[in-house]
Each structure stands twice: as structure tokens, then as C-alpha cells.
């Protein structure tokens, strides 16, 4: 028995020949069989109308059209191969002497769109709270925001002075670290005025904050002026270079009462001063 295995049979599968049927209306129906990517045989039926277009070319060109393929194309059949030649998507060439102007207009439109996109996004100035970058703020150089801050600071200070506010604050800070000079136990019942009285001679126990990222042209007086808005200032220490007498970028400010110091930290953190953005925090205990 010369029975072949079933696996061989599959390999020997022969694709049916290409069929061409001439139709009555002058068209042709071409049926082709080919293997698709999954290895299945597919029948491809096309109906075409052949139109002979006569083209006159010189003899040399006509001869070259009969050239045999060579190199990597040696075994390829006649006609363009799909592996190397494809028809791309349609492109348009619109020749116009105003093309350059149109292009410019398009570009302008694009820029406007971009500007609109920026406007609609959430950009907010730190100084005036308007929708533009802080760097572009018209009030950048006039110290308007400071007045604004001090206004709120003053209002806040007066509000905090009301009885009961201190208790509320104490409950607020329950979970976070409280420096010794702020602890309720240390200064139980001591109001701002009493602190001024009893601890005036001991600066170490007064609330002290550290302001950093000051510009090098800052003077003692400037820092004092800046901080006076938040409450009475006991002392200002501005770190200066020994030789040049220029500011080294940070300062310690001692307030007479905790509320003012706290307010100052709150307001001065992120405050733009002399082209730099300040940061303020409690001074590290000695």
C-alpha cells in the first residue's frame, strides 16, 4: 500500500489555475486563487475592462521596456511588485502665488489658538490672582501684593484675638509638632500682651521664624518693614557676608507673639519679593 500521510497531502495542495471569462459587455472576469496569511485558500474575483492606450515613445525607450529583470528582481514576474511598489495616499499640489500669504495666515491662526488655549488653562498669578503668569504681572514691581497681604494679616490678627480662637487653634494643631514655645503647657493662659511683659528680656523663648531665599541686596530695614505688617517685631537678624556686607539669603525674625509669627509664615511662604520667591518656616530650636 502506498498511502501517504495526511500531513503530506496538505503540502501537496495545488492552487487552481487562474480563470479568465470574457463577458458579453466587453469586460473580463478574472478569478484567482491564492493563499492568505492564515494559509487558507481564497478566491479573488475581479471584473475588469481592458482599454488599450497607445503611447508613442522613441525606439530606445520601447526597447528598454522589454528589458529582462535582474538582480533582486530576477525571478519576479512582469509588472510592478507589491513588495516594492505601492500607490500612496493622494496628495494635493495647489499652486498659487498667494501660497506664502496663506501659510502665514495659517500660522497666525495657530498662534492665536495656542494663546487661547493658554488663557483657558488654570494659570493664576501669585501676586494679583489674575489669569496670567506671575512673571508677567503688571503689579510685579509695585509692592501691591504686600499691602494686600498685610490687609488680610491685620484682619486675621484682629479676628484671632477674639476669645475662643486660641482654643480652636490648639485643637487644630493637635496632631502636628508644636514647638515648645507654642505648647499650651509652657505658656498656659498667657496672652500676647503678657508674653511681651514677662518674656521681653528672653529672646530665645519668643517665636522666631526663618525667612530664606532673600535677594542679596536685602537690608535689615527691608526685612523689618516686611515683617512689621504681621505684628510687633522684637528683633531681626539678617545673615550678611562678612566682607561684602551683602545678604547671604536668609534672615531670622523674632516676633513678640505666636500669632503674628504664624501669620507671617503663612503669608511669606511663596511670596514674591525682589524677583525671588521667599520661603518662611519656624526657626530650628537651638
Amino acid at each position: 500500500m502506498s498511502k501517504t500521510s495526511w500531513a503530506d497531502e496538505v503540502d501537496e495542495q495545488v492552487l487552481p489555475e487562474r480563470e479568465v471569462i470574457s463577458n458579453a459587455d466587453g469586460t473580463k472576469t478574472i478569478a484567482e486563487y491564492r493563499l492568505n496569511d492564515d494559509g487558507k485558500v481564497v478566491k479573488l474575483t475581479r471584473r475588469v475592462r481592458e482599454k488599450v492606450v497607445q503611447e508613442h515613445v522613441n525606439r530606445a525607450v520601447a526597447d528598454r521596456k522589454k528589458w529582462a529583470k535582474f538582480g533582486q528582481e530576477e525571478r519576479s514576474p512582469a509588472g510592478p511588485q507589491q513588495s516594492t511598489t505601492t500607490v500612496g495616499e493622494a496628495v494635493w499640489l495647489k499652486l498659487s502665488q498667494y501660497a506664502a500669504q496663506q501659510k502665514q495666515m495659517e500660522q497666525e491662526a495657530m498662534e492665536q489658538e495656542k494663546a487661547a488655549a493658554i488663557k483657558s488653562s488654570r494659570i493664576r498669578c501669585r501676586i494679583c490672582r489674575q489669569e496670567h503668569f506671575t512673571a508677567k504681572c503688571p503689579y510685579k514691581d509695585t509692592l501691591v501684593p504686600l499691602e494686600e497681604i498685610t490687609g488680610t494679616a491685620a484682619a486675621g490678627a484682629s479676628g484671632d484675638a477674639a476669645p475662643g480662637a486660641a482654643a480652636a487653634r490648639a485643637s487644630e494643631t493637635k496632631n502636628s509638632y508644636v514647638p515648645p514655645h507654642l505648647r499650651a503647657g509652657g505658656r498656659a493662659g498667657a496672652g500676647p500682651s503678657s508674653a511681651f511683659d514677662s518674656l521681653g528680656e528672653r529672646r530665645d523663648d519668643l517665636p522666631k521664624i526663618r525667612i530664606t531665599n532673600l535677594s542679596e541686596y536685602t537690608q535689615d530695614e527691608d526685612v523689618k518693614n516686611l515683617c512689621r505688617a504681621f505684628g510687633p517685631v522684637s528683633h531681626v537678624y539678617l545673615a550678611t557676608d562678612r566682607e561684602t556686607r551683602m545678604c547671604r539669603g536668609f534672615a531670622f525674625v523674632t516676633f513678640y507673639d505666636t500669632d503674628s509669627a504664624k501669620k507671617a509664615i503663612e503669608k511669606l511662604s511663596g511670596y514674591g519679593y525682589d524677583h525671588l520667591i521667599l520661603s518662611a518656616e519656624w526657626a530650628a530650636p537651638r
Binding site: Q72, G79, T84, L93, L95
Partner: protein, 325 residues
Amino acid sequence: MRPIMLQGHTRALTQVKYNSDGDLLLTVAKDKVANLWYAHNGERVGTYEGHEGALWSIDCNKPTTLVVTGSADNTARLWHAETGKQLHVWEFPTAVKRVEFSRDDRHVLMVTEERMGHKSGIYVFAVDSGSPAQSNEPVAVIRPSPSKATVASWSYLDRYIVAGHEDGSLALYDWKYEEPAMRATAHDAGITDIQMWKDGTYFITSSRDKTARLFETSSLNPLKVYKADTSLNSAALTPTQELVILGGGQAASEVTTTSSRQGKFESRFYHKIFEDEVGRVKGHFGPINTIAVQPDGKAYASGGEDGYVRVHHFDPDYYKFKYDY
């Protein structure tokens, strides 16, 4: 128009060129083969194989019997156009960046790179289309100085060789005496392409300084300037309409380092006389390295850094375009 896309190369195209009848298209890229295509339908006729490095340049003679290629493997080779058979190898100390048959097909010029202590040179060899043996002895060797030559082309009647240099200058070389006849500063940066008008009396240059310029050959007088907004790699003249086609774009190495603006990978059409941009054709995904116009002016081909050649046959609208003045 629907461009025909030719995918015969695996790397960036370096030159595309039509033969003189415009029925065949020759392409070379930084891979190692040169391709021959039918221009009307994009069918690949064959490949010229044998080079061992990137190919920089290709040309064929007027009857399209011989093809010459220049390569980074320090050789230039002569091929039988119809069969792809290699006929001759010329060896050089450095890469061959540009090759071109003279107008009478009796000579071929080769521009070599300046590298490893070897000076750049423009070599002229005699080519005998009748016999299989070719001379290895150059007829003339020009040493461009102070800057190396990047491109060169034969002038009218093969009288001079016009060369573009890395420093943006142009020179007219009296090649028989191996000396410069004239020099002119042309561009602010390296010249990337030079293409002659069909009679060789004027030519267009493209440069990395973002301009293309038209020059008269006999005097190197600047005639026209075409300003683009990107560095240009190629410039071609169209024979029927009064147009020039420029191609370029950001260098591939700079695409990721610059802002997200598009890379400007379009062919730009400028009016030859009025220097105005009149249209653009999109398509390539990378800078356009080379552009060639079919000698009858009915099509043009562009080769890009993306490895594709796109052959565009112009729509009827193209021939109706008129510039009001």
C-alpha cells in the same frame, strides 16, 4: 495626484536620478544596492549589487547603457545598465560622494571625501563605452582648497566643472588644467546639491543655510534666491513650468531635540523668476534628501531619510498654473 511609493531601500535615500529620456529612474541609498525603476509605473527593473558600503551618488550616460555609482566603500563602480553586471571598479583613498557623466559621455567626474589625512578631490576619468576595459588613470585631478568639495557638475559643453564646497563657496574649475577659473562665495553654509539646467548655462544650488540660489555658470553671478525656513538638501529645476522644487527638513538627529513643531518635511515649489513660494507637497516622514524632475517635466521624484522614494506625476492643474504679474 497619487504618488507611487518605491520601497526598494532599507535606509535613507541619498540620490535619485532620471535617465535622459525620463523613462527610467535610478535610486541609491545608504544601504548597499542601487535600484533601477520604470518611471511611469514604479516597477523595479533590477538592482546593481556589489558595493560594500553606503551609496552616495549615481548617474547614467545618455543612451542609458552604462551606470556609475559612488560609494562609502571607497570605490566607484561602472555597471552595465541592462543586466546589472559590474564592468569596472575605481578605487579611492576615501568615500566617493558624487559621480556624474560628462555631457558627451566620454568622461565621468567623481568627488571624493576629505578624510584621514587625504584631501578631497575631484577626479575625472575617461569612460570608453565601446570596450569593457576602463582606465584606472585619471585624466585630471582637482584638489579643491581651502574647503572640501561636496557636490560638482559639468557645465555647458563640458568646458568647466562647477563645484560646491563645504564652506558654501562655488568654484568653476578648468578641469583640463586642473585649476580654478573662478571662485565665488555663494552660501553661508555647506552646499548640499547642485543641479544644472539642461543646457548647462545656469544651475541651482541648495544649502544648509536655508536658501537655494540660481547662478549663471559662465560668471557665477547670483541670479535668484529662494528662501526657505529649514535647511535644504536638494533643489531641482522644472523644464516646462517656471518653477523650482526644494526639499529639506530638520536633520534626523535634531528632530527629537527641538520643539514639537513639525519637521517641515515637504517638497516646496517656488516660482523661478519671482522667488515666491507657490505650493507644497506633503508625504515624507523624514527630511527630503534628494529631488529629481523627469526631463519632460511631467513628474518628479523625491527620496527621503525615511527610505521611501515618492514619484509624483503632476495633475492637469499643474500645467494650467500661471503667475499674475
